[in-house]
Subunit: 265 residues, 3 copies
C-alpha cells in the first residue's frame, strides 16, 4: 500500500506542470524515504530529477517500494480537476495497476476521487555523480525566468559567465547583441530577492535558451533558483521545494561546445 498526502495540492500541480513539457512518460519511484523521479527529456539533451522526502508530506505510507508509471500529460489533466487549495492524496495498491487521486476542499464539503491507469515504462536510473561545482549562483527565480525569456527574444544561445561580484548573461542574434549583468546582492531584509555567488574560480559556459526556458516553468515552486556550474560539466538548475526536508526539482543541461562564444561575450 502506498499513500501520500500533499497538504497543499498546488505544489504537486506545479511540479507536474514544470515537468510535463520535457518528459512524456516517467516512473515515479516511491519508497520508505519518499517519492522521487528521474527522466531524460524526449530528445535526451536534459535531465529532470525530483526528490520529495517523506517528511515533506502531510502523511506518507509506503509498505513496499513501487514505481508508478505515469503519462504526465494525462496526470496533469486529472490534476486540473483539483482546486489550488485542495489537499491531494495519491494512493496505489501493491501490485495494482491504478493510481487513485483524492482531492479534498479545505472545509471538507467537496471530495473528488479519480482513478488513472498506470503504465509499464522502461527506464534506467542514471547515476548522477556528486560534483563540486566551481561556481554556484543563487538568484530570484523570477529574475532568472525574466532573463531567459528576454534573451530568448534576441538569440538561441546564452553565455553565462560567473565572476566574483556578478553573473553575466550574454546573447547574440539578428537584432543585435546584448548582455545582462546581475550583481551580487545580499538583500538582508528580503532574502528572496538576494543574488549570491559562491565562486571557486570564474566559469563561462554556453547553453541552449530553449531548454532553460522549459526549466523556468518551475519558477512558481520556489522564490529562488540556483545555478551550479563547472567547466565541461552539465549545469544544474535547482528549485528547492522545501528547505527543511531537502526536497527539490533539479534540471541538468550539458553546455554547448560553442564555436562563437566570443561573439556572445
Amino acid at each position: 500500500m502506498f499513500e501520500a498526502r500533499f497538504e497543499t495540492g498546488e505544489t504537486l500541480i506545479k511540479i507536474v506542470d514544470a515537468m510535463k513539457e520535457l518528459v512524456e512518460d516517467c516512473n515515479i519511484d516511491c519508497s520508505t524515504t519518499g517519492m522521487s523521479m528521474q527522466a531524460m527529456d524526449q530528445s535526451h539533451v536534459s535531465l529532470v530529477a525530483l526528490m520529495l522526502q517523506k517528511e515533506f508530506f502531510g502523511s506518507f505510507r509506503c509498505d513496499r517500494s513501487i514505481s508508478l508509471g505515469l503519462n504526465l500529460l494525462s496526470f496533469s489533466k486529472i490534476l486540473k480537476c483539483a482546486s489550488k487549495e485542495d489537499a491531494i492524496t495519491l494512493k496505489a495498491e501493491d501490485g495494482g495497476d491504478v493510481l487513485t487521486l483524492m482531492f479534498e476542499s479545505k472545509d471538507g464539503s467537496r471530495v473528488s476521487e479519480f482513478e488513472m491507469k498506470l503504465m509499464d515504462i522502461d527506464s534506467e536510473h542514471l547515476g548522477i555523480p556528486e560534483t563540486e561545482y566551481k561556481a554556484v549562483v543563487t538568484m530570484p527565480s523570477g529574475e532568472f525566468q525574466r532573463i531567459v525569456r528576454d534573451l530568448g527574444i534576441i538569440g538561441d544561445t546564452v553565455g553565462i559567465g560567473c565572476e566574483k561580484d556578478g553573473v553575466r548573461f550574454s546573447v547574440t542574434g539578428d537584432l543585435g547583441s546584448g548582455n545582462v549583468v546581475l550583481k551580487q546582492n545580499t538583500s538582508a531584509d528580503k532574502p528572496d530577492l538576494a543574488t549570491l555567488i559562491e565562486l571557486e574560480e570564474p566559469v563561462e559556459l554556453s547553453f541552449a535558451l530553449r531548454y532553460l526556458s522549459l526549466f523556468t516553468k518551475a519558477t512558481g515552486l520556489s522564490p529562488q533558483a540556483s545555478l551550479s556550474m563547472s567547466p565541461e560539466v552539465p549545469l544544474v538548475v535547482e528549485y528547492k521545494i522545501d528547505d527543511e526536508t531537502a526536497s527539490y526539482l533539479r534540471y541538468y543541461l550539458a553546455p554547448k561546445v560553442d564555436e562563437d562564444e566570443d561573439a556572445a561575450e
Copy 2:
C-alpha cells in the same frame, strides 16, 4: 410603445451572453407583465427560458404586447458598446421594425443610442408542464461551473446522483474515471456558498456535459444555481436574476438514455 430600463445594464449583457451560444435568433415577448423569451437551441436538444418581471426594471412600459425578433449575436455586438456601469434602455414603437438601445453613463456625461433592425422569426411557444421534482440541489453557481468544466476534461457525459446528504457527479473517459461529491452544507454566515438538497427520493441521471457547459455561461448572473431532477424528465438548471420579482434564466436538458451509467458510477 415599449420601453424598458435596466438600471444596471450589465445584467442584460450577461443574459444575452448566456443565451447567444445556444440560440441564434429568437423572439423576446414583451407584455404588461414583463419580458420573456423561450427558445430551443439550434440542435433542438435543450431549451432556454427567460423571465424578467415588470417590477425588475427601473421603469417599464408596454402599451401592447409585442414580439421583438432578434439575432442574438448582433444584439450582443451592439451591447458591447455599453459600459458595464451604464443604464440600458430598450425602446420599440408599436408596429415598428426597429429596436432602439440607449446607454447612459452613470454621471450622464456620455449617452449612446443605437438602432438595430428587428426580424420576423417563426417560433412556437412550448408549454412547459409544471413538474414536481424528486430532487432539487441548490449550490454555488461557481462550484457547478467548475465541476462541469473539470469533468469535461475527462469525459462527455456526467452522471448526477442525488442522495439525502450529497450530490455526486461522475464521469468516465480515456484518461480514467472519477467523481466529485458535494455534501449538503448550510453555511449560515455565507448563504451564497451553501449547498442544499431537497429530496423526495434519490435520483440518478446522465447528461451531456457539452450542454451543461453552455448553461454555465450564466454563472455571473447569480451566486447560486439550482438543479431540479426527476426520472425521465428534463433537468432544469435555474439562475435567479432577481429574488424579489421571480425573474430567472432557466435551461432544460433531457437526460441521456444511458447504456453505461454503471461505468460512470
Copy 3:
C-alpha cells in the same frame, strides 16, 4: 556623441508601441533641442510626429545633430528586455552605425546593455503648416479609445461632429447605426476625466476607424487626448507626454470625402 536617459523607461516603451504598427522604419532626429520623429504610415494615409524636448530627459547630450535610422519592430523587441521600472539610456557615437541601449534596474543590481545596428533610411521631412483649428476637443484618452473600439464593431467610418456643448461620434453598418454623445464636462476635482470643447464654429468630419484605432495605442501615454479639427484639414490627435516640456506624440489623419455622411448622422 549622443546620450539620452529616460528616467522611467516605460515611457519610451509606450512611445515605440504606439508607433510600431503604423511605421516600419524611421529616422529619429536628435539635436541640441531634443529628440523628434516624423513619419507617414506605410499606406501614406496618416502621419505620426513625436517631439521629446531636451528638458524631458533625466540627462541629455547631443554634440552634433544625428539621425538614428531604426526598424521599430526590432527596437521594440530589444526594449522588451527592459523592465517597466528600469531607467533606459540611448547612446550613439557620432558617425557610428550602432545604437546602444542600457537598462538599469532601480536598485542598480541589474544592468543590461544591448546594441542594435542602425539603418540608412530615406525620408523627407514634411512641413506641417501651423493651423488654427475650428474645434478642439480634449477628453479622457481611455474614453476616446473605448468609443473608437466600440464603434469599430459596428462600422468602418466614424463621423465626428463638434458642437458647443458636446461631441457626437456616429457610425453606420450592417448591424444597425448609432452614435455616442459626450457632453462638455469640467470635472474640477478629477481633471483627467474632464471633456472640454473649444469651439470657433461647429465641425462635422468623417474618418476611417481603422486609423483612429491604431492611434489609440498611445492611450497609456497620457490620461487625456485632444482632437483638433477644421473642415478639409487633417484631424490631429495629440497625446501629451509631458506637460511642462511640450513633449508629445501626434497623429494626423485626413478626413474622408464621405458620400454617406448623412446616413451616419
